[in-house]
């Protein structure tokens, strides 16, 4: 393979001096590379997902992917990507290790003539985040989205995943909030906190955040996601760090309780975690504060989930009421259609045999009998 050509880039000199990246994850090329530098790419593992037109494995660099953006990206994207790629270098070593282990943090910007931000190079999520999901006669090994933390232990068992228990939920949420606190310390907005953007390893109880190459400094367009709207970030305004705090709290509340609707708020309010006494209050302040700028930070939530106190430098926010819980679904509340009689091979449904008509006739006859008897 020929030596990649070096180009002007924000971080070409951030490595060991010859333009190569000092990336502890093993990325061997510079932090800005041309498409041709990367060599052949395999068939895409994902297409037309968000900002990406395709995500393709790099044949010559096992474990690394090229995430190729739609061609309508802003020109400033190159600068933003360079900022992201170099950001871990500003972190304490322990935080950098956590960020690299728990996210697909971009390693290099990909460019081509006329387009400084074709995409970026990201690591493939480790194999530990895959598991076989089984249902009936079907089974498939695939990445386990954090979606499954927001389900009951019974639901997890139903697809062959081990039950999480409080310990499993707590471990995942501690790691999520630790990653969020690191992003916050870098002044980055993620905005995409949701069920679909993190994987979960049931065996190692760890999480892996994806799509972090979309992070932006301070604020970014708020992409609408159903059921994740921040009530204090009006539609059409940018998402910022305070929006992130709300969405992170919503994700943690759902994952800690295994509930996906307003019941999660009520379970949190019942303070069910005796070894994390401050966690409920921090979560509720993040979710229900009437002043978005008084929402506690990701670091405060992380501390509370680790059993620490609710430390704060500003007064507690006032809170809105808890949302009403959804009505309990009972047999009488939800009437399901009558079950169908079995289909016969000729496609004809057997005539149902009903006693209803006869019962009505019998009742009317009895009433008439009583009326007649009373009149005699």
């Amino acid at each position: 393979m020929t030596e990649p050509r070096l180009i002007d880039g924000a971080d070409d000199n951030a490595g060991d001096g010859d333009g190569r990246a000092a990336d502890p994850r093993g990325w061997m090329l510079p932090r800005t590379v041309s498409v041709s530098d990367l060599g052949p790419m395999a068939e895409p593992i994902s297409e037309h997902n968000g900002q990406a037109v395709a995500v393709k494995p790099l044949t010559n660099h096992p474990g690394w992917l090229a995430k190729l953006y739609r061609p309508d990206q802003h020109p400033e994207d190159a600068q933003r990507l360079d900022l992201l790629i170099s950001a871990p270098g500003t972190l304490p070593e322990a935080d950098r290790a956590v960020l690299y282990a728990g996210t697909c943090w971009p390693a290099a910007r990909i460019h081509e003539p006329g387009n400084p931000a074709v995409g970026c190079v990201i690591p493939m999520a480790p194999e530990q985040y895959r598991a076989e999901l089984r249902r009936g006669t079907f089974g498939e090994r695939r990445f386990v989205e954090i979606d499954w933390l927001a389900k009951s232990d019974d639901s997890n068992r139903g697809v062959g995943l081990p039950p999480l228990g409080l310990a499993g939920r707590l471990a995942a949420c501690r790691q999520l909030t630790e990653l969020a606190a690191i992003l916050e310390s870098l002044g980055l907005v993620y905005s995409d906190w949701s069920f679909s953007n993190a994987f979960w390893s049931p065996d190692r109880r760890s999480v892996y955040l994806i799509d972090v190459d979309g992070c932006q400094p301070k604020k970014m367009p708020d992409i609408h996601q159903p059921n994740w709207a921040d009530p204090l970030t009006p539609p059409g305004t940018d998402a910022d760090g305070y929006t992130d705090r709300y969405r992170l709290a919503l994700l943690v509340a759902k994952c800690m309780t295994g509930q996906r609707d307003a019941r999660a708020f009520h379970t949190v309010a019942a303070s069910p975690w005796e070894n994390q006494p401050a966690a409920s209050e921090v979560l509720l302040d993040m979710l229900l504060a009437t002043d978005r700028e008084r929402r506690p930070s990701a670091a405060q939530l992380n501390q509370a989930l680790n059993g620490g106190p609710y430390l704060r430098t500003v007064p507690r926010p006032t809170r809105t009421e808890l949302p009403p819980p959804p009505p309990a679904v009972t047999a009488t509340a939800v009437e399901k259609p009558e079950p169908e009689p079995p289909t016969t091979p000729d496609g004809k449904k057997p005539e149902p045999f009903s006693h209803d008509g006869w019962v009505v006739v019998l009742v009317i006859a009895l009433i008439l009998l009583f009326v007649i008897a009373a009149n005699h």
């Binding site: 989205e145 639901s155 697809v159 169908e340 289909t343 000729d346 496609g347």
Partner: protein, 216 residues
Amino acid sequence: MSLCLPTYVVIDASTSMKPHEAVLNATLSRLHYNLATNPRVSEFARVCVVAFSTDVHVVIPMSDMEQVPAMPEVLCGGRTEYGKTFDRVRECIEQDVDNLRMQNFSVLRPTVFFLTDGGPTDANWQNPFRELVDRDWPRHPHVIAYGFGGAKRDVLEQVATKALFIADGSDTESALSGAITGLLNTLIASSKTGQMQIATDVKGFEYVQVAQEYVD
């Protein structure tokens, strides 16, 4: 309140599907697996499966597919009665929208995925169809149609109100698989945005834009 898309998978189970019955059932089981193992999608898209031939059978009433242990088997045979099917779907929608609202869902316009390999054998199917998609009925659904085998393009052009997919010559079994994959991709994409996002790139099908899309 959570968003919910009432989804009706309406499948032709007439005699012409009899040779493909095993594939039909395997395809439905795959649909069930994919929905039951994607909590985000099964939460958003509550699904009702209807099989039609001479009669109409609600195979799975409107459900969170995660709660459905297994997909019942569909037996094929009989005529291709469109009219009764549209009547039954209309009844289901009336009942299901009420039930979903009682569960505090914000209910989106229902969507009917209509999969058929033949033309209607009943002459008067248009009236029930008109009643189903009547824009004066506030719950009228979108209809996305997939036609393969002996399906009549001119008929399906009348039935599809949102999108039409016509098999490009692929065999019935490949077309069935392609249609269910397209349906799944539509539900996955829609669950991400909370709006109907039709997957138009469906293997083995030509995507036909609906000339006069209904305005909600």
